[in-house]
């Protein structure tokens, strides 16, 4: 009887130590939910969600303070992805936060620019290049289209321009029913019989 109790206790202790060691040794840093939400958000940093950037909005969602439908640049796809991640029902975009629009980039009318640096300070991703009393310009590839530079400009010389893809980065569109490209050969076909 005593032998059984001792041996079971000993084994239990041994396994307990083993498990404890393994838990420390093989500890996996779990990806906190805020990071996962932040990864889905489009990182435009536009503030249309009423938070001062994508990260704060992600934190608000994680804390249950904000709904998942406050991000217009993310659009329907973004809301769906968030709903999938959090295991909740998808919902339509909140119109109070704005509408989903085609991605645009800011373009400065360089003749009208007075070099006041206000837009440079307003840009959340440092995509505007310029110095005091020098002409400013937008680095197109870095611009997220957040619109934050528009109200900052005192002479109204910034426009948002939608960039339509040229042939180099053109994408195939969703197929429409009853248009088939390959069925041009009539009934002149025979199935392959080489197997």
């Amino acid at each position: 009887m005593l032998a059984a109790i001792l041996s079971i206790t000993f084994l239990g202790g041994l396994f307990g130590l083993g498990l404890g060691w393994a838990a420390r040794r093989f500890q996996v840093e779990s990806d906190p939910v805020i990071d996962q939400i932040d990864a889905i958000l489009p990182q435009t940093q536009c503030g249309q969600c009423n938070y001062p950037g994508c990260r704060p909005y992600a934190e608000a969602i994680a804390n249950g303070e904000a709904d998942i439908n406050q991000c217009p640049p993310g659009g329907e796809t973004g809301i769906k992805a968030l709903a999938d991640l959090l295991g909740i029902e998808s919902m339509p975009l909140n119109p109070e936060n704005g509408e989903e629009q085609a991605k645009a980039v800011a373009v400065i009318d360089e003749l009208a620019c007075i070099g006041c640096v206000l837009c440079v300070h307003a840009c959340p991703v440092d995509a505007i290049l310029g110095a005091s009393k020098q002409m400013h310009t937008v680095i197109e590839s870095e611009c997220t289209g957040c619109d934050l530079c528009l109200p900052a400009c005192p002479v109204d010389c910034i426009d948002m321009v939608v960039r339509y893809p040229d042939a180099g980065d053109w994408r195939w569109s969703k197929p429409q029913p009853a248009v088939s490209g390959a069925a041009l050969m009539g009934d002149e076909i025979l199935p392959a019989s080489h197997h």
């Binding site: 490209g181 392959a192 019989s193």
Partner: protein, 517 residues
Amino acid sequence: MHIDQAEQARNVAEQLHHFHGGLRLHHNKKISCETPVASTPLPEHFFVPLLQQYGKEAEATVVVGQKILKGDEIGCFAHLGSGCVHAPSSGVVKAVVRRPISHPSGTDGWCIVIEPDGLDQWKELESLTDWPDADPALLRQKIRNSGIVGLGGAVFPTAFKTDEAIKRGIHTLILNGSECEPYISCDEMLMREQPDSIILGARILQQAVGATRTVIVIEEQMGAANHALKQAVKSTGDNDIEIVRVTAIYPEGGEKQLIQVLTGLEVPAGGRPSNLGLLCQNVATASAVAQAVVEGKPLIDRIITITGNGITRPRNLVARIGTPIADLVERCGGYTKDAARLVLGGPMMGYALNSDDNPVIKAANCILALTQLDIQPPQAEMPCIRCGECARVCPAVLLPQQLDWLIRNEQWIDAEDCGLFDCIECGCCDFVCPSHIPLVEWFRFGKSELRSLAVERNQAKTAKHRHEARDARLLRIKQERRQRMKEKKRAFKDDAEKQKKLTEAISRARARQGRNE
């Protein structure tokens, strides 16, 4: 790679194998093979698109009004280590405009408009007749500078492939002459009429990439081409160039399918033939390489098949890049009365053009004019009945019905996992589908979506990174300012204390003075 696999890859064409699926199609090649390849007169204007290859548009390097000679560089690319676009004839640059560029999108692109002066005068050509003694790196440099791209239709820069071949190590060069799409015969005619040029190109490429052997693959029924190539090989006395005839099953001309036929091995998903120690080039590309290296001529023309029941006298033409397609059709006696649709490429993988104003591009191997009879009226799409025919014919061993379902439901990641990017868009599944589902269109759409998702993800990552960097900078500036303020305050305080001590001392002194008086 397994050692026995590496061994198997070396035994190219020792024994022929099969790839999965495929279709036997009617060739319809004979109509364009009956007359020899002819040249095309100079058009009134050339419209040379700056988008000629896989990737982005080239940058124009000429200005309006500039006089140029045949073969001058008129546009250059800044990436992929690739070469340039060259002037198809001597003349004057009239304009740089946006117009149709023979692209599946039908959108416009930048074109250089050249008015030929009729002299057709070459720029000074740097020929290299003693290429057998040349450094392989120099040969690759010449290939790069000549703007050569894969002329089989994928227009992947040849210099990129040869550079990669050097990095990975290549033992066998495969020249692809098995043009498996119906109607197209440009490669066959080239093999019949200029076999010496192809063999020369093969030997140059072999030296440029350090391959020890070349296999030229043609289709079983190309008797004349076989004969011509054999004669050409015999006259050079080489015994490391071999000609192999394969059964014509569509799409065995696809690079990966061809390699499977020749070696029995599959090119790994996402990999390239160089993974197996192979380099695959089109026969026309080899011929262009020969011209570029030996004569110093950049790629400014190609053989193109003008065919179909909508063309009066179908034939092959040597067409310069930038020639309007209408000029080529005219050279072939114009359209027949019942011509209804113009297709660039073959009937399986080609795309419809909305106008014959479109110019010849490096990728254009065939202009196909179809009549109303050829075109099936688009049949209504029916639901998938899961018959599995598409999976039976898929040469990439995919499950088209499954991919279609995933793409329609926007399950992008799953579609990618199911091998969407291994689809070669050959159209076999479309062809056999009893429900007339436009599967390839869905696959192209799916691939496009996945690519743009990746681009968006990358942009978001950059934006996030820049935003964080900005936040960190602003915080640093704020802290530095605070630090400065603190120091100033302390300095002020120190000053105040000093002042206090001073005034105390003064008042003490005054008090003492007062006492003394």
